[in-house]
Amino acid sequence: MSSSTKGQPQAELAATPAERRLVWLATVTMWVGGAGLALLLLGIPAVLVVGGVLPYERLLEGFLSPATRTILVTSMALGGVAILAGFTRFRRMPTKGSRERAIAGAVLGIQALAVALIVLAFQNLGEPDPFFRNFLNFEVLQGYGSTFLRAVMNTVILAFAGEAGGVILGLVLAVLLLSKRRVVRAPARAYVNFFRGTPLIWQLSIFYFGFSFGLGIQFSAFTAAIIVFILNTGAYAAEVFRAGIQSIERGQLEAARSLGMSYSQAMMNAIIPQAVTRVIPPLMNEFVILIKDTSLVVVLGLFAENYELYTWAREGYSSSANASFFVAAAAGYLAVTLPLIGAVNAVERRLRSGLVGVTAK
């Protein structure tokens, strides 16, 4: 048949009954592997939620129940079947699509098997009770709803203020870093190197305690944190902008200058607008990092109304001796960062495809 396949669409390759059976098998393999994994990822949380989340004993009961056990065993069986079917048959698959489905089924099967084994081990060899009591004991969070929301807000405020101020500072520093005059470059370089070369937690402490005790300038820990985040982000953003500006072709500056624009006019109108679109993804990545770094203000001793997520969790932990607060904090961080990470990836994809269309002919 190979002699007659040249130039034929792939669907027609699976022409014989045996080949059609293989294609069908590949599809089934993929669904079996997928079902094994889906059953675990959706089924176990469903059993837990239906059984009740509060108090944690109900959750634990659900986790140790026959239903969960059945799900685990079923998933492992489905995963095993998919692995066997996929790996033994994928080489014989007559079309590219069926081959890929067979492999996908086997990989999903491995994932289902692995997850099920870990859960099973935890269920039988581990200590589910103390784990559930300390980490998934959401009863202790009751009454903390409004402080949690405020902590999320404060985290966002700290990160957003730091990023906004830092971007402006960074743009100014980047222009200084790119000066042809060493006397202009040197102090900017020293600043950037210092803030990139010392730990943020050290900067927070020195700034807050140093200024208030050393100089007698009083400000709240929250204000101090915002200022330090601006100073620190400025240093990182400066390097991002510098690289972005340097990535603009030399001819752009020459074209602007040859039209009689001054260096700063050329920068403002021709170079920086192009650089800004290029640096949006790295700046957004910096922002995600800053959101997580806001947790470092825990060393400053904030007032209760200024608690950000991490401080909130630690205070909750020390008053209740229960780590479920940290689990809640993780949910808070992810609620803010995951959409941002998704946005960065979307912007990057668009810039990658868009820029090619704009700059190249």
Binding site: G251, E254, A256, S258, L259, M261, N269, V358, T359
Partner: protein, 246 residues
């Protein structure tokens, strides 16, 4: 004789160890089309870019009319508004439309009003035959169209001299002629032009004076037809023998 538009006096240029220009004296006269030819690496582009000081000479003086550009006290930005330059790589601003590419300097440098700038930009786009492409971004234009926008952008400043730096070298062969046609029309309108080019046909038909540059030295100078017909130096003869397959 009338005063030259631009003048180079004893220009030397080193790039590190590389001695690119070795004592160039040159005058650009009003309304002439001065064509600079020579093998690659001979210093043609560097010479042209020295005229508006995009390239700073290591030695020697550059004049524009009565103004010495190599004097640090000279306001280069002001002088450059009188000298248009068009580059091999077009160098249009990709984030601006064809029209905005032209109005930017009109607004920011010449401080024209919005209406004046727009009117002048549209006029120059029509001048290069691209009136209908005003709102297109450079990425949507062909190389030849981009280069014509670049010419319009330079012309909109109403320069006294236009410099062309191998403006057709980055173009697909079928797009070269449309750019050369625009340049020829400019020459016929009496624009003073300095043209670095590999287009020998254009040099011969449109050029009023030709300079042959080799290894940083002006080897030969004269009317293009004369030089092409009877090159006096051996180096010119060899170069023309290689490029003139006509």
């Amino acid at each position: 004789m009338t005063q030259p538009v631009a003048r180079l006096e004893g220009i030397h240029k080193w790039f590190g160890e590389n001695h690119v220009l070795k004592g160039i004296d040159l005058e650009v006269h009003p309304q002439e089309v001065l064509v600079i030819v020579g093998p690659s690496g001979s210093g043609k582009s560097t010479l042209l870019r020295t005229l508006n000081l995009l390239e700073e000479p290591s030695e020697g003086r550059v004049w524009f009319g009565d103004t010495e550009l190599t004097d640090v006290r000279t306001n280069l930005n002001e002088v450059r508004t009188h000298m248009g330059i068009v580059f091999q790589a077009f160098n249009l601003f990709p984030h601006k439309t064809a029209l905005q590419n032209i109005t930017m300097a009109l607004r920011k440098v010449l401080k024209l009003s919005e209406e004046e700038a727009l009117a002048r930009a549209r006029e120059e786009l029509r001048h290069v035959g691209l009136g209908e492409k005003a709102d297109a971004y450079p990425g949507r234009l062909s190389g030849g169209q981009q280069q014509r926008v670049a010419i319009a952008r330079a012309l909109a400043m109403r320069p006294r001299v236009m410099l062309f730096d191998e403006v057709t070298s980055a173009l697909d062969p079928e797009l070269i002629q449309e750019v050369l046609d625009v340049m020829q029309r400019l020459a016929e309108e009496g624009m003073t032009m300095v043209v670095v080019t590999h287009e020998m046909g254009f040099a011969r038909e449109v050029g009023s004076r030709l300079i042959f540059l080799d290894e940083g030295v002006i080897v030969e100078e004269g009317k293009p037809r004369q030089v092409f017909a009877n090159p006096t130096s051996e180096r010119t003869r060899k170069f023309l023998g290689r490029v003139l397959v006509m």
